[in-house]
């Protein structure tokens, strides 16, 4: 579900085939309105999930979201750190 036959995360395939992504990327220009709309979709999904799943399941989802966000944050900090030392 998450990985391809080589064991590599297939997230980019999921992103490119996602209807929201297709719609935003269609004209090759990303507007502030499109970012706002995508952000609203994420918030709506979180509310939906919160109402639908058990507390145990929600803890798992939250763990994944937080760990992924930590990775994204530290990776970007690391990149900026490298730029400063160059």
């Amino acid at each position: 579900m998450f990985f391809n036959e080589k064991g590599i995360l297939d997230i980019d395939e999921m992103v490119s085939s996602n209807p929201s992504s297709k719609c935003i990327m269609e004209d090759g220009v990303i507007t502030e309105e499109e970012i706002k709309a995508q952000s609203d979709r994420v918030i709506a999904l979180l509310h939906e999930i919160e109402a639908k799943y058990t507390e145990e399941q929600l803890i798992e989802i939250k763990k994944l979201l937080v760990e992924s966000s930590v990775l994204y944050t530290v990776y970007n900090f690391h990149s900026i750190q490298n730029l400063i030392t160059l």
Partner: protein
């Protein structure tokens, strides 16, 4: 060794960088890789190495082994990592995907397993070695030797250094 890149200082003149870049390009091309080179304003080179079926494409862009050779003082800074084909590895803020760090870590694992980073490093080191041997043979052919204490050039027949007086 880095977690998702390999960095090394090569003790050789930065004037060797273009030769190193050419050798890396040539040898990887001979093994069926697609190679692109960009000369940087710093005097360095940015080399992209990729092969279909080996490097995963991300959102329609080819990923590649990125080798950068940058002058650092009298030496050369070698760095090998994973990046996007044709895009300069520096600046390195490439984060078009939330899971980009996961992808590059996984692709880097494959690069390390295939020892492609080691291969690029070996080619660069070979250029330094070849150049060193070239210098030695030139020195011998003109009949002179260098003092191991102070580096002064002396005639081949000299028993003592004309610079510091130490036995040669």
């Amino acid at each position: 060794m880095g977690t998702f890149s390999k960095k090394k200082i090569l003790y050789g003149s930065s004037s060797l960088i273009p030769t190193m870049a050419n050798h890396i390009q040539e040898q990887f091309q001979n093994e069926g890789f697609e190679v692109a080179m960009d000369a940087l304003s710093s005097g360095g080179y940015d080399i992209s190495i990729t092969k279909g079926g080996f490097f995963k494409a991300v959102l329609g862009m080819k990923t590649a082994l990125k080798v950068t050779l940058i002058p650092q003082g009298c030496n050369i800074h070698f760095e090998a990592g994973v990046g996007i084909w044709g895009q300069q590895a520096i600046p390195t803020v490439i984060s078009m995907l939330f899971f980009w760090p996961v992808l590059i870590t996984q692709i880097w694992g494959m690069v390390e397993q295939s020892k492609l980073d080691d291969k690029a490093l070996e080619i660069a080191q070979d250029v330094i070695m070849m150049n060193h041997h070239g210098e030695t043979s030139t020195t011998t052919s003109v009949g002179s030797k260098f003092c191991t204490e102070c580096g002064t050039k002396n005639t081949e027949t000299a028993n003592f250094c004309c610079g510091c007086g130490k036995p040669l």
